[in-house]
Symmetry: D2
Subunit: 292 residues, 4 copies
């Protein structure tokens, strides 16, 4: 998320570094000296790895600072403490590319939340491996649609084209909204930290094909869904959000799929919200999520 937004006064800042005394004092003092007022802050000490993570929201109350100025100021502290950090204005709407296969419930849900102003994103494109007519009942509101069919033989080219579209559109976040294709390792690496998948059924219990049927065969009493960052192992990326619903022996696999749609769309939309509000920081194979 690199586009500056000069007219804003509110910023998100996330950072991580090896833990040692004085980090909070240094960053708070630096921001204060720069005319900033911290409005929200959350931190986490991973005592196991010795890493420190922090998310700060602040307002620039003294005039005249640009985002570039602020980066310059934070750079000093970052060097001192060996920090990775991300800083962005709160008013920026991340550019989101949505990938979809046959089932459109997550796509429709995300577009609805965007349309009523609930999800402050800028949808720059919809990519599907099914023809546009599949979605004839879905209003795309003028968002560019790209039909990119894929077979085993054309997978490399198709993924190259997706990355091209992602690049051209300056996409900040790719959302796999029930996109039922496994990304290649290269593709997963290229989108590392900026691609969210919704895994239907409840990770880590039921991987592989037809997870709701697996859950039904196992006779479980709860089903769920998991949203996670995409890594090489499609079903094993850092988890962002999960939720469940109760089922009974009387529920058919079709009932599970129906209940699953509700869980999937709310879990995915929460994960997207956490990402765009910069509430998430990757920590190895886990995700730190600073919820409200």
């Amino acid at each position: 998320m690199t586009t500056p937004c000069p007219d804003t006064k509110g910023y998100f800042l996330t950072l991580s570094c090896p833990n040692r005394p004085g980090i909070v004092a240094a960053i708070s003092q630096t921001l204060f000296d720069a005319g900033a007022n911290i409005t929200e802050a959350q931190q986490f000490d991973d005592t196991g790895s010795g890493s420190f993570f922090m998310r700060i929201m602040f307002d620039v109350v003294k005039g005249g600072r640009t985002e570039a100025d602020l980066r310059g100021i934070v750079d000093g502290v970052a060097r001192e403490f060996g920090m990775d950090y991300r800083l962005h204005c709160q008013s920026y709407r991340p550019k989101v590319m949505i990938l979809v296969s046959k089932f459109d419930h997550c796509l429709v849900d995300l577009l609805y939340r965007w349309r009523i102003g609930e999800l402050p994103i800028d949808p720059v494109g919809i990519i599907a491996n099914h023809p546009e007519d599949t979605y004839r009942d879905v209003d795309f509101y003028g968002i560019p649609f790209h039909y990119l069919p894929v077979t085993k033989d054309t997978k490399a080219q198709q993924e190259a084209r997706i990355l091209e579209l992602v690049g051209e559109s300056h996409t900040d976040l790719v959302v796999l909204a029930r996109y039922m294709q496994i990304l290649s390792n290269e593709m997963a690496a290229a989108l590392s930290g900026r691609c969210i998948n919704i895994h239907h059924s409840f990770l880590p219990g039921f991987k592989g094909a037809r997870p709701y049927h697996q859950a039904w065969n196992r006779g479980v009493k709860l089903i769920g869904a998991t949203a996670h960052y995409v890594t090489r192992d499609l079903d094993e990326g850092p988890i962002i959000e999960q939720d469940v619903e109760r089922i009974s022996h009387a529920d058919s696999p079709e009932d599970l799929i129906r209940k699953g749609r509700d869980i999937e769309r709310r879990v995915l939309s929460r994960a997207v919200r956490y990402h765009i509000e910069m509430r998430t920081i990757l920590n190895g194979n886990k995700t730190i999520v600073f919820t409200s």
Copy 2:
């Protein structure tokens, strides 16, 4: 649960048979003719396997029928439709043997629910593989305690002794209340359909040792517990009940274990309640649970 209770008028009846028209009519008419009034009934058609399952609660409103009389009457319908059935008076308190290892939270919880009259059971014994002094802070209320240590070499004898105690006490239900020993296949078979285990952490996600640590390592956002009937594969028996709680990145493995204790005790006590109220019927590797 075979002890008759001559002074009662209320009965539980569960049955299963191949599905075909007329089952409900036949059983309802038979019970009506026997002077019984159905007060609650639930059924399930497993269209996949073609099996029919039913649970009936009824009161005998005409006098003079004993449990044996009623069995004689139901036998006729059962033969006609090829039914397996279980019939028992509602006032019977199943004899329960509780097995426990080091952690006592499930044991204490079950005893509490029994003590205040919430769980209508008759606890006939507590078997532990740790010495009695381990539970010096637990009031057993006079329930016989059996210390049966177990090593790899003595496992066969220890299990034989357990089965002996189960037999002598006419135990109806064995509850593994965080009993951290894997039962032998023979033992599991001997207790088939009358032994409930609580699996800490969330099946089927995390099997094996230290499941909460596994869940923590995986960075999940929900943890849970599963109560199931014991089969040869300890972690794979027919599921009776599950529940979850939300966790965050800030929860340590110890926090997960703490939250897990709350989930475990409520899931296990619900499963025991479902069993003793004859709400459960085994259906292959699944459990039908007729909840209210």
Copy 3:
């Protein structure tokens, strides 16, 4: 729901009557004699009021019976036991009229579930007290739209027009999908038992205007929504379904409203599903809901 559907073999039957021995036997035998096979049945004894309630799903396996034939057959038992009953073919799609005000999330959700075949209804109209342009981003899929503005002075006429539309369209169910007008007593009476409202925020805690702001002012840690049948007292009708989500001190009233939208749409859609699957029976100021 009175339109016959001659080509079906599956039926819903719900009934209520004063409790006495023999009801289940009589109805099961009658259906069996009529060539029907009961596939699902649930019952409830209200021991307080002495009333008996039952829901039956059955297939007619012998040919040639029409819905009228079946009614004729059930009439006999109904007279004997003083039953109120409703019988309808399972393939019938109830005609649904949706009323909406400014906020469209429940409307859009219901239309989506209908469009993908999840909710087997026949939407016969949308009535709004805001002009059609308010919903310019909503695809009505050709469903007739009626703009019926309302003021204090025109309320009687507006309601008369609604009832006219309901009558002309043979509407089976009216859904108040965040329709922010209080119905007159006459209107509520006219739609008794066939009008479902979604009450935002958590009944019975917060009645009146701006319930999410009330909940926020009170500092609650859970918010919820309630779907209920409409009666004279708008906020006090028989409850069909409720759900909640967790909130924190950091959630603003706007966050509550956002989370509330998710709860409202899933609670309302479940209530509509329960109604059209004839899982609900009114019992005084309560609703019996035979969930799966």
Copy 4:
């Protein structure tokens, strides 16, 4: 919580003050200069009231500082920003007085959590308005028991005696563990901010007597419990924690009471944990709860 604990290095600090730029910088720098390392910090800006709230956990990594030293150091910042603050060592076990009436499930639950080391409290007494024999099945583990019966006429004296016991024992927190007496305004004022009540049934829906019966009469589909700080209006104090469980039409008032016991004990124990970990700060008629 005023007893110093000289051998510890970990401290809790909570503070509140009018919001203005520089608070976080000042407090972080001050603690850093004092040789402290912040291990956890959470804050909340109440933009409505213009108040700022913060909770900090820190370790004193440079030797030699006592709790009194630290207070002296924090006093400076507190004066500058007009802060109210509380500072205490993490190893301190708050002295807790538990009040109980007839039902002992919350009492037994708290004692269990304390006994296994889950709840780091120091129970200094149990006060009951029923005779000791009422709790003959409860192990008090030597905690002093006080039978203080109360009638309308003796209420003033009884409360005076309670306050005396609270004073003599240096009680930090009074827990009303299903203590079914309404405190006088004077008593509530005397225990302001250090007395937690568990309200059975779901506030704010059902106040007054027999709330589960009220909920049952209303036909609700969820019941819950609320833990809150005690104020003059017993049912209206600042809410700390709430939870719910699903019920159905088939649940009797007794079933609601049974399910309610489970909710009450987990909600109350969470609220006590939040209080003793200094996660709660009063904000008018609300409670800020910095959960993990």
